[in-house]
C-alpha cells in the first residue's frame, strides 16, 4: 500500500517546480475622487523590480494628464530629477487620423511628474490603463530606470498608445511612488503594486 510519504508529491507540478511564483501582489489602492494615490511602503531592496498596473483611471475633468513621480526616504515633495524619452501611436474613432512619432511629454533633467497618459477623456467610459516597471529602486550606485506603456481613451476620441522610458538621475534609494491627474482628481480606478522576485 502506498504510504503518505510515497504519495505526498504525487501531483501535477511543472518540471521546474523548484521555482516559485515570481509576481507578488504587494498593495492595491482604489481611487475615489482622490487627489493623489501614493505607495509609501514596501518599496525597498526586497525586489529588484516593481510593477505598477493601473486599471481604468478615470479623471474628474476632461482632457487630463495622468502622471507619476517618486521620492526618497519619508519625503513628500515628489520631485526627483529625471530624463525620459517618449513616443506615441494614435488613431481616432473616425478613422481619419493616425500617427507614430516622438511625443515631447518627456523630461530632460526635469523634476516634474512624468506623463503616463495623453489627455484622458472624462466621458463615463473614458479612462487610461497601463503598466509601469521600476527597476531596483533601492540601489545606491546607479540611476533608477523605468519603462511604461499605456492605452488612453482621449477627450477627442483617440486611442493613444504611449511608451515611456527613462531614469531618475539619483543614486539615492527611491522609497515611494505617487500617481495623480495634473490639476484634477482621480475620480475612479485601481492601481496595483507587485514585486518581481
Amino acid at each position: 500500500m502506498a504510504t503518505y510519504a510515497s504519495i505526498k508529491y504525487d501531483m501535477d507540478l511543472a518540471s521546474s517546480a523548484t521555482g516559485t511564483g515570481a509576481l507578488t501582489l504587494l498593495s492595491t489602492q482604489t481611487a475615489s475622487s482622490s487627489s493623489t494615490i501614493s505607495f509609501t511602503s514596501g518599496i525597498d531592496s526586497t525586489y529588484k523590480e516593481y510593477v505598477f498596473k493601473f486599471y481604468d483611471i478615470h479623471p474628474n475633468g476632461n482632457a487630463k494628464q495622468f502622471k507619476f513621480q517618486v521620492d526618497t526616504g519619508t519625503n513628500t515633495s515628489y520631485n526627483q530629477t529625471l530624463t525620459t524619452s517618449t513616443f506615441t501611436a494614435y488613431h481616432n474613432e473616425d478613422d481619419d487620423s493616425t500617427s507614430l512619432g516622438y511625443n515631447d511629454v518627456d523630461h530632460a533633467q526635469g523634476t516634474g511628474f512624468q506623463h503616463l497618459s495623453i489627455s484622458t477623456g472624462n466621458d463615463n467610459d473614458q479612462t487610461v490603463s497601463g503598466t509601469l516597471h521600476l527597476y531596483d529602486p533601492s540601489n545606491t550606485t546607479f540611476v533608477k530606470h523605468f519603462l511604461a506603456r499605456s492605452s488612453t481613451y482621449t477627450a477627442n476620441d483617440h486611442c493613444y498608445d504611449l511608451y515611456v522610458g527613462g531614469y531618475f538621475n539619483t543614486t539615492t534609494a527611491l522609497t515611494r511612488v505617487q500617481f495623480k491627474y495634473d490639476g484634477d482628481t482621480i475620480d475612479a480606478g485601481v492601481i496595483k503594486m507587485y514585486g518581481v522576485s
Binding site: A2, Y4, I7, K8, Y9, D10, M11, L13, A14, S15, S16, A17, T18, G19, T20, G21, A22, L23, T24, K48, E49, T83, T84, S85, T86, F87, L100, G101, Y102, D104, D106, A108, Q109, Y135, D136, N139, T141, F142, V143, H145, F146, L147, Y163, V164, G165, G166, Y167, N169, T171, V196, S197
Partner: protein, 202 residues
C-alpha cells in the same frame, strides 16, 4: 485513514508555486565576458517546459564605455556556439539630459538580416559609475522544431552621451532547430556588474 484522494495535495509548496510566472535562474555578473543560460546546466530550464521565456536584466553595467549590450542563441546540445541566423528590427526613442536630440528612429546599425552575429539590445551604454541598462527580452517557444523562434525586447539605457535611449528589438532566430542556450555579452569589454533573471510563463 487518509486516502490517496484527500492526501494527494497535502504538500508544502514553495510560496507562490503554481503562479503563471516562474523564476528559473538568477545570474549576477562580476566582470564576466559573457553570461549564458544553458538548458540543463546549473538548474537552467530552456526547453518545452514553457512556451514563453523572459530574461530580465537589472542595472547591467559595462566595463567599457559606449558599448552595446547584446545576445545570441545556440542550438547545440554541448560545446555551445552562439551563432544562430537572425533577422530583426531595431528602433529607439532618445533624449539627452541637455534637452537635445529628441527622436524616434529606426536604427539600421542595430538590426540584422540573416546574420549569425550578436543582436544588439541596449546600444551605447555608458560606464560612468551610475550608468547602466535595465530591460527585458521575451523568447517564444524555443523548443519548437517546426517554426522559427521569435523574440521581442525593450530596455532603458543610460547612454554614454548622458541621455536616455529606449530601445526596441523584435525578430526571429531563422532556424527550426530548438534553441538550447542564450548568451549575453557587451560589444567590447566585460559585464562589470548587474543581474539577469530567467523566467518561464506557463
Amino acid at each position: 485513514m487518509a486516502t490517496y484522494q484527500n492526501s494527494r495535495y497535502n504538500i508544502a509548496l514553495p510560496s507562490g508555486a503554481g503562479g503563471a510566472i516562474t523564476l528559473i535562474k538568477t545570474i549576477t555578473a562580476s566582470s564576466d565576458s559573457t553570461i549564458s543560460f544553458v538548458n540543463g546546466a546549473s538548474d537552467v530550464v530552456l526547453d518545452s517546459t514553457y512556451r514563453t521565456y523572459i530574461f530580465k536584466w537589472i542595472n547591467i553595467h559595462p566595463g567599457n564605455d559606449s558599448v552595446h549590450f547584446s545576445f545570441n542563441g545556440s542550438d547545440d546540445t554541448s560545446s555551445h556556439s552562439y551563432n544562430i541566423t537572425k533577422t530583426s528590427t531595431h528602433f529607439e526613442a532618445l533624449l539627452y539630459e541637455g534637452d537635445t536630440g529628441a527622436a524616434l528612429q529606426y536604427n539600421t546599425a542595430g538590426d540584422l538580416a540573416q546574420s549569425t552575429g550578436v543582436q544588439s539590445l541596449g546600444r551605447g551604454v555608458g560606464n560612468d559609475n551610475d550608468q547602466a541598462t535595465s530591460g527585458e527580452l521575451w523568447l517564444f517557444n524555443p523548443s519548437s522544431t517546426t517554426f522559427v523562434k521569435h523574440f521581442m525586447h525593450r530596455d532603458s539605457v543610460a547612454h554614454d552621451g548622458n541621455g536616455n535611449f529606449q530601445n526596441h528589438v523584435a525578430g526571429y532566430f531563422n532556424t527550426t532547430a530548438a534553441i538550447t542556450a542564450i548568451q549575453f555579452t557587451f560589444s567590447g569589454g566585460n559585464i562589470d556588474s548587474g543581474t539577469i533573471k530567467l523566467y518561464g510563463i506557463t
